[in-house]
């Protein structure tokens, strides 16, 4: 079978604060034989999806990215980038007025084609978690890890189609494939506070604090995130007095289990 090429959209934060997320994902993809090819001259996804659909300017950037993928599957690591790209695609498919306005302005021919995937979906649906489990060289045995999904991967469920928005299992299954011991808490789908860390850090501290506390109470030694802003809030916005837990990107754990984490060499199997 011919190897599928995936076009890869990094997004702004993966080139700065979240470089480790990109490094570990790319090293893991290489070890697994998954071809992720970064889109040339990409630009920011816009960070938030415009909820008023006459805000056409905010759709220009994600639609330009979708069109640049040329119908090939488009993969993101950041949950927010994935959310914006997936919803922009849905808006283009559903709303003819939006589609015509945006594609006319961009001078591109795009009608909503191509798969838009989060890297976890690629691993689950295309690669397969059982195949992934067979590639694990250093199982994360005994590590009690609490998945944190947040909002943007899951909701709105009808558009994102990622997993059951109220009771997701993808990250638990992913961590189990790596040999870890996933710990689920009711707060794994609650908002971390998102960009309120800029305008109302007290509110973000409260939302993030509840998530960390729930994970600590359930016996987790760390939280697992799929978004740099979630990680930031969980790490930095925890109110004084509450418990603290380390937060890892799912890609860091993947690279560790595959034996390709930074500073490690791939040992011949």
């Amino acid at each position: 079978m011919a190897r599928i090429r995936y076009r890869y959209f990094p997004g702004c934060t993966l080139k700065t604060q979240a470089q480790i997320m990109e490094q570990t994902a790319l090293a893991s993809a290489e070890a697994l034989g998954i071809q992720l090819e970064e889109l040339p001259r990409w630009q920011c996804c816009g960070a938030v999806f415009p909820l008023y659909e006459d805000e056409a300017i905010s759709l220009l950037s994600p639609v330009r990215t979708l069109a640049a993928a040329g119908g090939e599957p488009l993969v993101s690591l950041c949950a927010a980038c994935h959310h914006v790209l997936k919803r922009a695609q849905e808006a283009v498919r559903r709303n003819k007025e939006v589609r015509e306005k945006v594609t006319d302005f961009l001078q591109v021919d795009y009608g909503g084609e191509g798969r838009v995937l989060h890297f976890l979906e690629l691993l689950r649906d295309d690669y397969g978690f059982s195949r992934l489990a067979a590639e694990v060289r250093r199982p994360l045995a005994g590590q009690k890890l609490a998945p944190y999904y947040g909002c943007l991967l899951l909701r709105p469920g009808g558009v994102m189609q990622f997993d059951d928005p109220e009771n997701p299992e993808t990250m638990e299954e992913f961590l189990a494939a790596l040999g870890a011991d996933p710990v689920s808490t009711a707060y794994r789908t609650e908002c971390c506070g998102a960009y309120l860390s800029v305008t109302r850090s007290d509110v973000a501290a409260s939302t993030a604090g509840r998530i960390v506390e729930a994970a600590a109470k359930a016996g987790a030694e760390a939280l697992v995130a799929a978004c740099p802003l979630c990680r930031y809030n969980l790490e930095n916005s925890v109110g004084s007095g509450g418990p603290r837990l380390p937060v890892y990107y799912f890609t860091e754990l993947l690279a560790e289990a595959l034996g390709v984490a930074p500073g490690e060499e791939v040992k011949p199997g």
């Binding site: 604060q17 909701r155 998102a194 509110v203």
Partner: protein
């Protein structure tokens, strides 16, 4: 109270650009029960919808609630009337932000040490939601 012409125009635009009609809400308050940030709001989400139904636009405009909403989409996921409250809150924010010179976030308001620490993603999101 009879909604003003301005309010009726606002509701018409909301319907046109988001497909949302606050009149559909039957005040079960599931949105308010689900919202993770109500403790910082001066009006609960279902109260905002009620005021929009009744045409109390000024009370909604003066409320902190649309600016506390972090667009986590939990309310919309659970609404038994399939109302997307996140889109309605966006409408309220935009009705303020689309006024000339209106902004809720000035770069000078962010402490320099916080500016160094925040992920770009947080800054882009916050400015997109609080300014134009």
């Amino acid at each position: 109270m009879i909604p003003s012409a301005e309010h009726r125009r606002f509701l018409q635009e909301m319907k046109a650009h988001t497909g949302q009609d606050p009149a559909r809400c039957y005040q079960c308050a599931k949105c308010s029960a689900s919202c993770p940030v109500t403790e910082a709001m001066d009006l609960l989400p279902h109260q905002v919808i009620r005021l929009l139904q009744l045409g109390f636009n000024e009370k909604v405009q003066a409320s902190s609630t649309p600016w506390i909403c972090a667009t986590c989409f939990t309310c919309a996921a659970r609404c038994p009337r399939d109302l997307d409250l996140a889109r309605i809150m966006e409408g309220v924010r935009l009705s303020f932000l689309r006024r000339r010179g209106a902004t809720r976030l000035d770069p000078g308001d962010i402490a320099p040490e916080l500016l160094q620490k925040l992920p770009q993603q947080a800054l882009v999101s916050a400015f997109r939601k609080h300014s134009r």
